[in-house]
């Protein structure tokens, strides 16, 4: 990685350099503003600001019998209370599907009827002059329910089959296999728990709505909000320059956003609504609890002959959320007979939503754990098992891979990690009272690309602005787009600013699914190349890189700006290829032989991610995925009490995410990978794959340390007390 770089002459390529974050200063000084921070009461526009706090249902199924808002209305500072009785009627707009809306079912539109579908569902909204007053007023609303027995228990509810895939005849092949693994793996429900609480700041000007919103996609938010209020999307302005983490929780438009806009219109004042941490657990989705059954069949040489992978995930009673748990099963390893089957269990709970590495990280936990079990059963090294089953094409799609670096990842990872020091026999490596274990897993995630538009503005002031509605929820999109723009404009980064997260900019998709760089980055590349030509035509090729010179020419020509808008769509070069990122994860864990406490000591991740635009930021993203993977493997779970439907982990002291003390030694490597097919930039995306494979590598290491196979996440100390 290159050293700290803040400026660079334009002749030196910026792509590939570990440029420091261009928004770094704003983030370390507190100047970066997040959704709830755009308006405070003492500011000139903020003095009629009101705060909204919603009351959630404390039953999981039934209906509101009576709702008494008398006390709340009389409390100090209260502007008004909204319930299903007095709230404006909105459109459910069920046919308008947002980016992460389930295809089947109908979204919850808040405060429209007396029905309660899950614990925590908003049943009333208190609006008051101060935050303290609004919080208190919400607690004074008295609701009597007609409660019904909820269906909360994943284990006892009846699954519903929603889809299957197959190639070859997996059942027949499994029946005849020489070696067989058959195991069931569970993953607890997890919550995204971004550090920033979801928040909305809503204000109307006539029939036009402005939202400062925590969202991963301003365009999507505008479209969905507009549909529910019966507006045109262009009448909703959504502004979201900084997002304090989201990991998927801000891909959908949730009821609180609608309620803030509802209250702002009803009470004719700007309204700020911030979820509490407790509400975050029930209000903005979650990774569904899952159960997977994997059957692997292999021949005498440990070559896979059959994979049958079945998964069941929770969903809500009103939407059927389906995620890609099983999509990598068909191509990760070489097997001609693969069958997958997905089912859902509809419970009286909110709807799940994509969470980092959605589906794939879930499926890989089971598949890569089962591969580890097969390696032990066959008596061969887990890497050797994978090498024997390395495919030369995607057998599910019957397409060649655009690129696939697994073999190199295994080789480099094994060497850097010191895999050769691994004892073949589990439960035999010790360090004092710690049992040590090594584990590994293969990682993958699809490398997608979407359509995006970008605007480049050359200004007489000598600055270049690059605008697109894409978001930067943390990966560093501001920085990477600056680098791409600099190289393709031929103008130094010090003259370029990138602006994101605003519906007034050209359209770009939501930041999710690890495709922002492939999408907005490819569009930036295309538009900047075009813009450079247009600028050169205006000011002469020799002056492009020298803003003071084209400033002077602009002035002479009486031109204030040159604006170039364009975009790019999914690249034709992808046609005929299976495009995915791949990697190999290696973990060393220490398990206390007495207490079962687990410590991840080391993680090595080696990845083929195509071209690395900024190695510093890419490494940071992988680091983050590794930490979340530790959480997934060892700490995180949200449990709903089956009697009430309430989460018993409504506090960050109860829902455990890793702390600094849990950080292991890390080694992160990106192999050289030139992928001419995946997109014009040759990038593969990193956000999702960074999580994928971490949990199974850790779980496999725990088995190697203890000889005990725990087939449920999180793995807890009590599972390992021998």
């Amino acid at each position: 990685m290159s050293g700290p770089t803040t400026q660079s002459p334009p002749e030196k390529p910026m792509i590939g350099i570990g440029l420091l974050r261009v928004d770094g200063r704003r983030k370390v000084t507190g100047a970066a503003r997040y959704a709830a921070e755009f308006l405070v009461p003492n500011q000139p526009n903020g003095q009629n600001l009101a705060y909204a706090v919603f009351l959630g249902a404390d039953i999981a199924r039934g209906s509101i019998a009576t709702i008494d808002i008398t006390k709340a209305e009389q409390a100090d500072g209260v502007v008004g209370i909204l319930t299903f009785k007095n709230a404006p009627r909105l459109h459910d707009a069920a046919s308008v599907k947002g980016v992460a809306d389930p295809k089947s079912g109908s979204r919850l539109v808040p405060l429209q009827d007396e029905h309660v579908r899950f614990f925590g569902q908003p049943v009333a909204l208190a609006v008051a002059r101060t935050l303290e007053q609004a919080q208190h007023a919400a607690s004074l609303i008295e609701v009597q329910y007609k409660a019904e027995a909820p269906s909360i228990d994943f284990d006892t509810a009846t699954p519903r089959h929603v889809g299957n895939t197959s190639h070859g005849d997996a059942e027949a092949a499994f029946a005849q296999a020489a070696a067989k693994i058959e195991a069931t793996y569970d993953i607890a429900r997890e919550n995204h728990q971004p550090m920033e609480l979801h928040a909305t700041l809503a204000e109307w000007q006539g029939e036009k709505l402005t939202l400062h919103e925590k969202t991963q996609g301003v365009v999507n938010t505008a479209e969905i909000v507009a549909a529910q209020f019966g507006l045109k999307p262009e009448d909703v302005t959504v502004i979201s320059p900084f997002v304090g983490g989201a990991f998927g929780s801000a891909l959908r438009v949730w009821p609180h956003t609608i309620m803030a806009a509802m209250a702002a219109r009803q009470f004719k004042c700007p309204v700020k609504l911030i979820l509490s941490r407790r509400q975050m657990v029930t209000s903005v989705g979650y990774r569904p609890r899952s159960r997977q059954k994997v059957r692997l069949g292999a021949d005498a040489n440990a070559k896979l002959t059959a994979i049958i992978h079945e998964a069941t995930g929770e969903t809500s009673s009103f939407e059927t959320y389906v995620e890609n748990v099983l999509t990598s099963t068909g191509f990760l390893h070489n097997c001609t007979n693969v069958a997958t089957r997905y089912s859902t269990v509809a419970l009286d709970t909110g709807t799940p939503t994509p969470m980092r590495g959605p589906g794939v990280s879930t499926g890989l936990y089971a598949l890569e754990s089962a591969m580890d079990e097969l390696a032990y059963a066959a008596g061969i090294d887990p890497i050797e098992l994978r090498l024997r089953n390395e495919p030369d094409k995607d057998l599910a799609k019957n397409l060649p891979f655009s690129s696939r670096a697994t073999k190199e990842c295994y080789r480099i990872g094994a060497q850097r990690f010191g895999w050769s020091k691994r004892a073949a026999q589990p439960g035999t490596m010790r360090d004092g009272h710690w049992r040590l274990g090594y584990g590994m897993a293969t990682a993958t995630y699809p490398s997608n690309q979407d359509k995006a538009d970008v605007r480049v503005i050359f200004d007489i002031g000598g600055t270049v602005r690059v605008e697109t509605a894409a978001s930067d929820i943390g990966p560093g999109t501001y920085t990477s787009l600056t680098q791409i723009a600099s190289d393709n404009l031929g103008i130094g980064i010090e003259h370029i600013t990138v602006d994101l997260g605003d519906t007034r900019f050209p359209k770009a998709p939501s930041e999710g699914g690890s495709k922002t760089l492939a999408t907005a980055g490819s569009a930036t590349l295309a538009v900047c190349r075009d813009a450079r030509q247009q600028l050169a035509a205006l000011v002469g090729e020799e002056n492009v890189a020298d803003p003071p010179k084209w400033r002077a020419i602009f002035r002479r020509q009486g031109k204030r700006q040159l604006v170039v808008t364009g975009g790019s769509a999914t690249a034709d070069s992808r046609e005929g290829f299976s495009c995915n990122a791949f990697g190999a994860i290696f973990a060393e864990v220490a398990v206390d032989a007495d207490t079962g406490q687990i410590k991840v000591r080391r993680l090595t991740g080696v990845y083929g991610l195509g071209r690395i635009v900024n190695p510093r930021l890419t490494r940071s993203q992988v680091l983050g995925g590794m930490m979340q993977g530790i959480g997934m493997a060892l700490l995180e779970r949200t449990r709903l009490d089956p009697r009430f439907g309430n989460p018993t982990d409504g506090n960050l002291a109860d829902y455990l995410i890793p702390v600094c003390k849990d950080a292991p030694l890390v080694d992160i490597v990106f192999v050289n990978e030139d992928d001419p097919h995946v997109n014009p930039l040759g990038v593969k995306g990193v956000g999702e794959i960074a999580l994928c494979g971490i949990a199974p590598a850790i779980a496999n290491a725990v088995y190697h340390a203890t000889g005990k196979r725990v087939r449920a996440l999180p793995i807890l100390p009590e599972n390992l007390m021998a």
């Binding site: 420091l20 974050r21 261009v22 928004d23 770094g24 200063r25 704003r26 983030k27 370390v28 000084t29 507190g30 503003r33 709830a36 755009f38 405070v40 009461p41 003492n42 500011q43 000139p44 526009n45 003095q47 009629n48 100090d76 500072g77 935050l131 007053q133 728990q193 971004p194 550090m195 920033e196 609480l197 700041l201 204000e203 000007q205 402005t210 304090g244 983490g245 990991f247 700007p270 509490s276 941490r277 929820i473 943390g474 990966p475 980064i493 600013t497 605003d502 510093r616 930021l617 490494r619 940071s620 680091l623 983050g624 930490m627 506090n651 960050l652 995410i657 890793p658 600094c660 950080a663």
Partner: protein, 215 residues
């Protein structure tokens, strides 16, 4: 390259540091935004900035609270329920201090009170009355030169989304000052009160060790 600031998200923490909000005696708003304030008003509702609107009615139990924040004294009259965090964010406009949980479980709201790192979400402003409070907005020097811990966070890419960052930096400054930054392991333990969901811990440890070595 630090300033990508645009017309629609202007100038950070705005105006509030420059004036006290409420008359400590009468609890009435001082409705006199400065020229600076008007120039730097956020874009939300630009069309109809109100003149002298009614202030939020103070709680019947309102108490005088005197806080010195980043060297500037503020005499306020507050609802006793006001946490120091909400006072900073919603009354003084110092939104650099973040609300991550409001439960004392994440550290995003860390500020220094009388030189010690504390959680502003669990601190009642009334209890802190009379104290010196230092927030992220007061950490860089008067010329805008970053504090060594801030600079180290930039240099080591010790954040992604940036939301936990002000709390991490305030905690990191205190961690070094307390003498708890001698080894990586020590930093890991003494920085465990600041959660980072983006998982930047490895870089945070490197940043604090680096800043500690330089200080």
């Amino acid at each position: 390259m630090d300033d990508v600031t645009r017309r629609h998200f202007l100038h950070g923490t705005g105006i509030a540091g420059s004036m006290s909000l409420l008359d400590p005696l009468g609890g009435q708003a001082l409705a006199k935004p400065s020229a600076h304030a008007l120039l730097h008003a956020p874009a939300l509702a630009p069309a109809h900035a109100k003149t002298a609107p009614p202030p939020p009615p103070p709680s019947p139990f309102a108490v005088p609270v005197s806080l010195t924040v980043n060297g500037q004294k503020h005499d306020l009259v507050l609802d006793p329920r006001s946490s120091l965090l909400d006072t900073l964010r919603e009354h003084l406009g110092l939104t650099g201090t973040k609300k991550g949980c409001d439960q004392g479980a994440c550290g995003a709201c860390t500020v220094l009170v009388d030189g010690r790192r504390v959680l502003s979400c669990l601190t009642l402003a009334a209890v802190a009355s009379g104290s010196d409070v230092e927030t992220i907005e007061g950490v860089a020097d008067a010329h805008g030169k970053l504090h060594p811990v801030q600079q180290a966070f930039v240099d080591h890419d010790a954040f992604q989304c940036g939301y936990c960052t002000p709390g991490q930096i305030m905690s990191g400054i205190a961690c070094i000052h307390e003498g708890h930054a001698g080894t990586d392991e020590e930093v890991k333990e003494w920085m465990s009160g600041n959660l980072c969901r983006c998982g930047a811990y490895v870089n945070i440890v490197a940043a604090i060790r680096d800043a500690s070595a330089k200080s």
